[in-house]
Every structure is written in structure tokens, then in C-alpha cells.
């Protein structure tokens, strides 16, 4: 009997097989009343047909449906049914599910709180690959996907220069997951988190030290490097976490360039921004340049000081070393030839 069913199943295309399900689930008003509320059980089959799972039948995932029509409510399915190492259906297995288990989302879920699972971000029937423009995890769509729950953050993000970049078609601009990561999202107080003070610089550096991306957007490339040479950067490097990192001054979701009056790094707002840590900061903090290495000509007077000292130090030390060498040379010669 089993082999017969298998044979029949094999001869049919997924669409043939799914037709039987869609007899009911294909109707738009199909549904049941559960806990006094109407629950739609309609499935938009076009979604499934254009998803990564188009080759599969409904019962591949809903594998507890043996008889159609089914009389009992099928169990909730889980992606790990197939996406586990050693699965036979050929479902791609990456480290993502494992990473997800570490995340704050999974932790909240384990504690019984409301938190997203795979399908909350990837979609249910309409799972599409990330490079598909209709995918929920397509770069441009990620803010709306995360924003389903994180509405405040989404609103804040959407005024940022990063979102402006995305809208201009510069898809290298950062969206949620570029900073937060995707599966292993961790809270900032976790030392492994990309948002932990000791990791923030590295997180921003991924793009802000990337020549190609920065060229495209016209942002100076050496800013992160210059930051690392600053007292803030060095203090952070050696574990002084109260030292300012990128987000301390630039904020995070609503990052804006210094030319924007809403930006905390706009010259008019700098006194207040620096004042968060340095109580006496005045308008004076705007009189100077930030994130520029002394060896860059744009550094202005600092560049000239640096250049002066470079030449001065070289000349002085060279002179002293020559004096020493001549002294040694003279002593050696006199000793050797016994001259007085």
C-alpha cells in the first residue's frame, strides 16, 4: 500500500498534488472560528509557487496530514523539520538555526515571551531568497520586516543617512542586520554582541573602512583609523568601556551627517554632545577637525606640526648619531694604531 502511494505521489507534479489541498485552502473566505474569532485558513498559492519551496507539496511540511480532507488540526510545523544536518530532502543547512538559538529572540521565546521565529522574518509560504526584491529579507525590505515589531526603532532609522542611502539605491548602506546581525542578534551588554562597546568600532568599520563603499558614498575612508588613534579609541582598545565609541556621539538608528542640523555632530550641537561626558565643553569643541590623522593634509595646523616634528626629529637624531659614530670611530682608530 505504501509503495503504491509513493508511486502515485512520484508521478504527480507538486501542483497536481497540492490541487487537492487548494480545493479548500484556495478559497479566500475559507476559515474556521477559533476561540470565538474567525481565523482565515486561506493560502495564497501564488506565494508558494514563487518561493524557494516551490518544488515541494503542502504535505512535505505539513507532514502530519495523511488523509485529505484532514479531520484534525495539523500541528504547527517548524523549519528545523527539514533544515537540520543530514536531512534527506536536500534542505540547505547553514549555521543559522544554531546561531538563532543563541540570540535574544530565542532566549525570549524560551522564557515564554513573544518573540520572532524563522517564519516571522522569512515569511511562511512566501519564503524567497534574500536577493529577490520581493523577499522579506531583501535588503530594502529588512527595515519593514524588523519594523513589524520594532516600530519605534524603524521610525528612528528611517530618518537616518543610511536609509536615505538605501532609498537612493546605494544598497551597501546599512540596514538593521548590518549592525545587529541577523540570526545571532544579541543584546549590547553581551560581550559577543556587535553592539557591545568594545565591538562597536569594528561593526562600523566593516563598511566605513571599506574603500569601495566609502568611495561610492563619498565618506572619508580614514575616519575609523583616525578614531582608533584618538584617546577615545585607545582607551576603548584597552577595555575602558566608558570611553566614547562611534555611537556615543553619532547615535545609532538616526545617524545623520554633520551637515544636518538634526545631527548630534552638527557644529551647533557639538557642545551638547561632547558635554554628555565632558562637563565644560563649550562652543570651542566645534573649532577643530575630528577623525583626521595628523599625516593627512586636511588636518591643517596639526599636519604642519606633525611634519615639522618629523623633519626636526630626524635631523636632530641623525646629527647626534653621526657625532656618536665619529666618536666611536676615533676611539677605535686611536686604540688600534696606538696614536695618542
Amino acid at each position: 500500500m505504501k509503495t503504491l502511494i509513493l508511486l502515485v505521489l512520484l508521478l504527480q507534479t507538486p501542483e497536481d498534488q497540492n490541487r487537492r489541498c487548494l480545493l479548500c485552502h484556495g478559497k479566500k473566505d475559507f476559515g474556521i472560528v477559533e476561540n470565538g474569532k474567525f481565523k482565515s485558513l486561506y493560502v495564497n498559492y501564488d506565494n508558494l509557487k514563487s518561493s524557494v519551496h516551490k518544488k515541494f507539496t503542502c504535505v512535505t511540511c505539513h507532514n502530519d496530514v495523511r488523509v485529505i480532507p484532514h479531520l484534525i488540526k495539523p500541528k504547527k510545523i517548524h523549519c528545523l523539520q527539514c533544515h537540520f544536518a543530514g536531512n534527506v530532502v536536500g534542505a540547505p543547512v547553514e549555521e543559522m538555526p544554531e546561531k538563532y538559538k543563541e540570540s535574544i529572540h530565542a532566549k525570549a521565546k524560551r522564557e515564554g515571551k513573544k518573540a520572532p521565529e524563522c517564519y516571522d522574518c522569512h515569511g511562511i509560504h512566501n519564503v524567497r531568497p534574500p536577493d529577490d526584491t520581493l523577499s522579506t529579507v531583501y535588503k530594502e525590505n529588512i527595515p519593514s520586516t524588523c519594523g513589524k515589531c520594532h516600530t519605534k526603532e524603524k521610525g528612528s532609522y528611517e530618518i537616518s543617512i543610511h536609509w536615505q542611502g538605501i532609498k537612493k539605491g546605494i544598497l551597501e548602506s546599512a540596514v538593521c542586520n548590518d549592525c545587529h546581525r541577523e540570526h545571532d542578534i544579541l543584546p549590547p551588554d553581551d560581550p559577543r554582541s556587535t553592539l557591545n562597546p568594545r565591538n562597536v568600532v569594528h561593526t562600523c568599520e566593516k563598511c566605513h573602512a571599506n574603500v569601495q563603499i566609502m568611495k561610492k558614498t563619498g565618506v572619508p575612508i580614514k575616519q575609523v583609523e583616525a578614531f582608533k588613534e584618538s584617546f577615545h579609541g585607545i582607551a576603548l582598545e584597552f577595555g575602558v568601556l566608558k570611553a566614547a565609541n562611534c555611537t556615543s556621539c553619532h547615535r545609532y538608528h538616526d545617524i545623520l551627517p554633520s551637515t544636518d542640523p538634526r545631527s548630534p555632530i552638527h557644529p551647533d550641537n557639538l557642545a551638547e554632545t561632547c558635554g554628555k561626558c565632558h562637563p565644560n565643553a563649550s562652543q570651542n569643541v566645534a573649532k577643530g577637525k575630528v577623525h583626521i590623522l595628523p599625516e593627512e593634509k586636511e588636518a591643517g595646523i596639526v599636519y604642519y606640526v606633525y611634519t615639522f616634528f618629523k623633519i626636526f626629529t630626524f635631523t636632530v637624531i641623525l646629527g647626534l648619531v653621526i657625532h656618536i659614530i665619529l666618536d666611536l670611530f676615533g676611539q677605535f682608530r686611536r686604540r688600534r694604531y696606538g696614536k695618542k
Binding site: 570651542n284 573649532k287 577637525k289 616634528f309 618629523k310 676615533g330 676611539q331
Partner: protein, 285 residues
């Protein structure tokens, strides 16, 4: 007991031990040899005692006091301060290097090293105020300061010294109390102190200065502090340590600045004019 008895006793002892008898001739010979042996030893010991006595005399007699306790203390505090500053400062400048991370770790992290750096800075500050008071208000200080002032002779000395190094002349320049090399060291400290204490003060009290000075002044202070630190460190390690300690003439260590004493021999070689002056003053008395 006469001397002969002593030798006799030794021979008897040997005879008893070996159970044989020496004849008279052999006895005489052995006696003679023993005598000669211990006479030689006694002479040697006497010579050694004499040598030690002479050396001690020489030490006591032929040393000059080159630096007063006041100068020695100033130098000591300055040296300790500078060493602390170099050890705690350079790892910040070269924070990416492995050795810098190791040194910082040994010190107990950047939060400890910055406190130590300020301790060093305070020593430097104290010694500069002290030195200013010393050269203004003490007779000794004023005299030393006048000796340290550059004069045309220093240039002549420098030229002659270079010629001497090259073997063009056979006579070393005759230095007075301070050679041009020592004067260079002294005046270089002024340059370094003004820059390092000036920029360091801005960096130390940055929270105050942030409100008073435009940011670019603080940027300059940081740059200057870092650059001058490098110059000073190189000058001290290469130049000052070579001339004062590692020079083959005094290698490996010249204790004069710590003990204040300089032997006559080195005095004659390194500061002949001062030697002459001291001798003249002594003979006048």
C-alpha cells in the same frame, strides 16, 4: 720554640706517618724548602696588603666632588620621572604593537598606567620648579647656571672635537666644567620641559581646557606631546646614555651623577680646565 723546631716537627710528623727515616742531608734540604716556601707566601700577602692600602689612599685622595647633593637629587628625580613617563607613555603611542600591550598588561591596564604617567609628570613638574628656584636663589645654582651658558668656546670645542674624531688633530678639546655635549643635554631639557609640561597640562586637565581653548589647540597639544616624547626618548636613550654611560671611556656605567665623585684621572681627561682652576684655587689658599 725556635723556627727550627717548627720545621723539625713537620719532618717528624711525616716520618711517623710514612714510617721511614730521612737522612741528615735530606732533612736539611726539606727544611730549606719549607723556609723558602713560607717566606714567599708571607711576602705575597704583605704585597697584597700594601696594594690595597695604596688603592684606598688613591680613592680617598684622588676624587673630586663634581656634583653637589642638590644637583644629584634633581637629576635623580628627573631621571626617575622621565623613565616612568617613557614606560607609561610609549605604549600609548604604539598601542597597536605587541610589546605595548604586554607592558600595559604588566602595569595593570591603561587605567593604572595613566595614573603612573601623572605621577611621573608631577615629578617633572616638581623638579622644574625646584631647579628654577635653585638657579635663582642659591649661590651654587647661579654659579652652575653661568657655567652652563653657551659661549663661543663651545663651538670651537665642537669643531676641534670633530677634527679629533677624524684624526685631523691629535689633541682633544680642553673642556671646562661642562663640555658642549653636557650643555646640549641641559638646554635640550628646557625645550622638552616647556613642550611636554605645556601640552601635558592641557591633556591632563582637558575637561577644563575643552571649555577654554578651541579644539584644534588640544589637537596640537596631543600631536606635540606624542612627537616630542619620541624625540626626547631617542635623545635620552641614544645620545645622553651614550655620552654619559655607554661611551667606551666610561662603559658600562658612570656613577658620577649619582655619587657626585669623579676620579682625578677622568677629571684630567674630561674637564682639564676645571681641574686647573680648582688646583689654582687650592694653591692660593
Amino acid at each position: 720554640m725556635g723556627k727550627n723546631d717548627f720545621e723539625e716537627k713537620i719532618i717528624e710528623e711525616i716520618e711517623n706517618e710514612e714510617e721511614i727515616k730521612f737522612d741528615e742531608k735530606l732533612r736539611e734540604k726539606i727544611k730549606k724548602e719549607i723556609k723558602e716556601k713560607y717566606k714567599k707566601e708571607i711576602k705575597k700577602i704583605k704585597r697584597e696588603i700594601e696594594k690595597k692600602r695604596k688603592k684606598k689612599e688613591k680613592e680617598e685622595e684622588e676624587y673630586f666632588i663634581r656634583f653637589s647633593l642638590n644637583i644629584r637629587l634633581q637629576h635623580f628625580i628627573l631621571a626617575v620621572g622621565v623613565l616612568i613617563l617613557i614606560i607609561t607613555g610609549l605604549p600609548i603611542k604604539f598601542h597597536e604593537a605587541m610589546w605595548a600591550k604586554i607592558i600595559l598588561k604588566i602595569m595593570g591596564g591603561i587605567q593604572v598606567s595613566r595614573i603612573l604617567h601623572r605621577v611621573g609628570a608631577s615629578l617633572l613638574f616638581i623638579v622644574s620648579v625646584w631647579h628654577m628656584l635653585y638657579i635663582i636663589f642659591t649661590r651654587e645654582g647661579r654659579r652652575e647656571f653661568i657655567e652652563l651658558l653657551p659661549r663661543p668656546k663651545d663651538i670651537m670645542d665642537f669643531i676641534q672635537n670633530i677634527k679629533y674624531f677624524l684624526g685631523l688633530v691629535n689633541e682633544k678639546p680642553k673642556f671646562g666644567r661642562f663640555s658642549y655635549i653636557e650643555k646640549f643635554d641641559y638646554w635640550a631639557v628646557y625645550w622638552g620641559m616647556v613642550i611636554m609640561l605645556g601640552s601635558g597640562t592641557i591633556l591632563w586637565f582637558h575637561n577644563f581646557f575643552l571649555g577654554v581653548l578651541p579644539k584644534f589647540i588640544l589637537d596640537i597639544a596631543k600631536e606635540v606631546h606624542s612627537d616630542e616624547a619620541m624625540l626626547a626618548t631617542l635623545a635620552i636613550v641614544i645620545w645622553h646614555w651614550y655620552n654619559a654611560h655607554f661611551n667606551p671611556e666610561v662603559f658600562p656605567f658612570n656613577p658620577t651623577i649619582f655619587t657626585g665623585k669623579i676620579p682625578k684621572e677622568r677629571m684630567l681627561k674630561e674637564h682639564p680646565l676645571e681641574y686647573e682652576k680648582i688646583m689654582k684655587e687650592k694653591s692660593k689658599k
